[in-house]
Amino acid sequence: MAESPDDPPPAPAPPPAAPVVAADLPQPRLIRARRWNVSLVWLVPAIALAIAASMLVRSVFLTGPRIEIEFKSAEGVEAGKTEVRYKEVIIGKVVAVSLRDDRERVVVVVQLDRSAARFAVEDTSFWVVRPRIGAAGVSGLGTLISGAYIGTDAGVSTKSRSEFVGLEAPPFVLRGEPGSIFVLKATDLGSLDFGSPVFHRRTPVGRVVGYTLDADRDELSVKIFVEAPYQKLVTTNTRFWNASGIDLTLNASGLSVNTQTLASVLAGGMAFDTPPGSAPAQPAPENTVFTLFDDRRTALAPADGVAVPVRMVFDQTVRGLTPGAAIDLLGVDIGRVRTVALQYDAKRKRFPVEVTAEIYPLRLGPVRSALLRDVGVPSDAAVLQELAAHGLRAQLRTGNLLTGQLYVALDFIPGPARTATIEEDGTVRMPTAPGTLSELQPQIAEIVGKVSKIPFDEIGRDLRTTLSRASAAIGQLTPDAQKALAEVQRTLARAQTTLDNLDRNVTDPSAPVQRNLEDTLIELQRTARALRVLADYLQQHPESLLRGKPADAPVPKR
């Protein structure tokens, strides 16, 4: 804004004289104003407009798309406060929290930053980060102080989207994390949970990222993530097993305790390994489906292949035989007991026990092919039939005397010839032999029967009459016996005196006999010693018998 310069006055004007009249007043001097553009002042609002516009435009450009995320609950989410973060970088803010119209879920409106516009795409996932303390560890502790925030896993899709459904828990695999996901079919979840570790050689190499129970097919599949570079260790041959907790097994082989690391004991986990001796295989591709075995032993056991169902009927108690008990062929575990059930034999009025089992012929190894070749029919059932014809019998044996656990042994047992039959459904009905315990029972019963045949009553009666007669005989003897006893007493008194004399004359140390005897003995002792010396000397110097005693050996000089 131009202002005309206040030039110093060239000369002081004379002060005006009172009284003040317009005509008497001093006349102002006239100076030329500097020419300036009047419209310059309008630059101010123009500049202001430009600044304001740039500020607004900038803030408009800084704000990105607005998205809506649905959550089950808005716990910890506050409008205007809660941030949206990706890798702890703030990419947006919650601007409103409201209920969905049906009041089922919560809708969180998020204003994304301009730079985060690419997050509003199809496959981005959001979840609320709250402090979580679980088996997999503690996470989100910072939110205890800062309050919850919304975590993000950026999607890679190019399709934009503005309405999302939030996850209830953070995903266990973030996009772009190197590694592979595998699917395990399991019969039982055990103590596995989200985030349970996956071990290989007791080293954590991955984690459980999810599990789904298919309600229609009643099938449980567990999703695991194996971190790079360990996903290469998972090959098509790899076996997975549940390493949760402590595996306590009580079976015919006794008590076995199996654990993985302490962490997995507490938090559950699983492990994988390749069975020893298996051929090297390609790393398994992503999403390969594996079976989750119950324990390491079954996991690493050779592949069982197709099982041959076997049915055995035992005529004895099967106490101690449980489903899962081993089928043992000469010490080799070749199968498992499936069921144990009572049957009723109307003819004999007995309850035979029917045991069904599965035999895995593959466990026989190379023997199997030899057997198949021998039989000539490519059927494992036919092999069993052939073996049964040659005396193979199923027998219940005690595996553990302490616990009384039974197992089924297949063994060649001499006995009447019987054959195995193959039923329509392919089940082999194996002939059985009485178990070792049940063989013992009739023998004991026989012994007991024989013992019970002994006429203890008669023997007792005879014994009693004999005794009563003896007592009568003794009664008749009494007067003579008393006389005899008195004689004996007298004789004994006399013997006593005789012995006293003897004692005085012979055994007393001062008795002459004693003394002489002692002297004689001492003499004899000396003689014996002299003889021993002589004998020793002769032994060392037998030549002295001929040459006499040699001269002393010279003293060795120093």
């Binding site: 206040d6 803030s59 800062s146």
Partner: protein, 214 residues
């Protein structure tokens, strides 16, 4: 009042610097200024381009009033939280927290006063040209009021600047000024400029000597 007296009143010029009253000269040539014969100060019946300057400042203030309210004036950063506060947002928070009195003070100082100042100055500038005879006395009072309350709006600016200067705990907490504060400061300063460039004598142009009349 006689015509002569009115003419005399019109044609006398008081020096704002030394107080000497001179008789206004008859200027027949454009581009000439009158100068106090005693101290050399430029003598004017009214401030130069008063209306233009007032209008320019008021409009600029009005324009900047929008970003001042829309953009955050204060940015607080703590270890876990990054917060941006706008003026209205802060007042809303105060209100929700139950500090109604404080909310009212902040609202009056930061929202109402600048807005009323802009409105009042606009009204004053407009009436000089279009309704010169309308309620001169009230307008004069309004001008004095605007002049008096003008700088109180800087309260917010002081608060934020003081906070920004004192709250510096490294990564734990810090307070910074947002862009909105700049705009807000500009609004307050521009309204003060507008007040300063407005000449209340314009209200009384062609007014009878007794202001109460007319």
């Amino acid at each position: 009042m006689s015509d002569a007296a009115r003419r005399d009143a019109q044609e006398l010029l008081g020096c704002e610097s030394c107080g000497l009253v001179s008789a206004a000269a008859v200027i027949d040539e454009p581009g000439l200024l009158q100068q106090c014969p005693r101290c050399g100060h430029v003598l004017r019946a009214t401030k130069p381009f008063a209306l233009q300057r007032t209008w320019a400042c008021v409009l600029a203030a009005a324009v900047l009033y929008v970003p001042a309210n829309a953009l955050p004036v204060m940015v607080t950063t703590s270890a876990f939280q990054h917060d941006e506060h706008t003026l209205l947002g802060g007042i809303h928070e105060l209100w929700l927290d139950g500090s109604w009195f404080l909310a009212a003070i902040v609202f009056i100082a930061s929202i109402a006063v600048p807005m009323l100042k802009i409105g009042a100055l606009g009204l004053l500038a407009w009436t000089v040209r279009h309704r010169p005879e309308w309620r001169r006395l009230e307008r004069a009072r309004l001008y004095r009021l605007v002049e008096a309350v003008g700088h109180w709006s800087m309260l917010d600016v002081y608060v934020v600047v003081l906070l920004a200067a004192t709250v510096r705990f490294g990564p734990l907490a810090s307070v910074g000024a947002g862009l909105g504060l700049l705009a807000f400061t500009a609004v307050v300063v521009l309204t003060m400029f507008a007040t300063w460039s407005f000449d209340p004598r314009m209200i009384w142009r062609d007014a009878p000597a007794n202001g109460r009349v007319a």
